[in-house]
């Protein structure tokens, strides 16, 4: 089991890719630790985690079917 995480904006630029494959993790907190270890500089950025197109605030268990995305601060409009 693994996730194909979607990366956007500045995070995609930092990773040099628009997706990142990571092994299964239990929850969003573990996910954050994992992706921060993989993408240099990410830890310094106040990014959001979206699961199934909703922002997760705090922690949450991750289903194996979860659609995960990492979102840097918004700047639309």
């Amino acid at each position: 089991m693994a996730y194909s995480i979607r990366l956007f904006g500045q995070i995609a630029e930092m990773a040099g890719a628009t997706t990142l494959e990571v092994d299964a993790v239990a929850d969003v907190q573990s996910l954050r630790a994992t992706v921060e270890a993989r993408i240099p500089g990410l830890q310094q950025l106040p990014y959001l985690v979206a699961v199934d197109k909703d922002i997760v605030t705090g922690n949450a268990v991750l289903e194996s079917s979860a659609l995960i995305a990492l979102l840097p601060p918004y700047s639309g409009g």
Binding site: A50, L71, P72, P73, G76, G77
Partner: protein, 148 residues
């Protein structure tokens, strides 16, 4: 996705043309219960940062999520205000300084609803839509914007 209203696309490739705004306005002349229109437009500024000038902003989005979020915002605004209609267009891709990158258009019988709804939609778009703008400088370096 059986929601009350259909999820609408708000994204357009490239700038919003003034002629498009005019067409949108003209279409409302048959809706004679409208007494007030409020429009907000965002325009790309040629900000000067550390001696470099912004030549354009390149917009990207997490489209599926942005459209769902926009749908939620639209439904909430229609519940809050007695609007006749609401139209939203956000640019994607490279938008040159001086061009329009956001067009929000609300109409109502009376001015207060149209004006307040328009202002609130703009705030929510800036705060809640997963859209990113990369400011491209005249020397082709860039920096990422962040909404306040």
């Amino acid at each position: 996705m059986d929601k009350e209203r259909k999820i609408k696309n708000i994204f357009v490739q490239g700038a919003v043309a003034p002629a498009f705004v005019a067409e949108s306005i003209a279409k409302h002349s048959t809706k004679t219960d409208i007494g007030a229109h409020s429009i907000f437009m965002g325009q790309v500024r040629a900000d000067v940062i550390d001696g470099k000038t912004v030549a354009a902003i390149e917009y990207t989005t997490y489209e599926e999520m942005a459209l769902e979020k926009m749908h939620e915002i639209r439904e909430a605004i229609f519940r809050q205000y007695p609007l006749t209609c609401m139209h939203i267009h956000h640019s994607l891709g490279r938008i040159a300084a001086g061009d329009i990158c956001l067009f929000v258009f609300t109409s109502s019988g009376h001015r207060k609803a149209a004006i307040d709804a328009c202002a609130e939609v703009v705030e929510r778009i800036k705060k809640e839509l997963p859209v990113w703008g990369r400011e491209i400088f005249d020397n082709e370096t860039h920096q990422w914007k962040e909404n306040k």
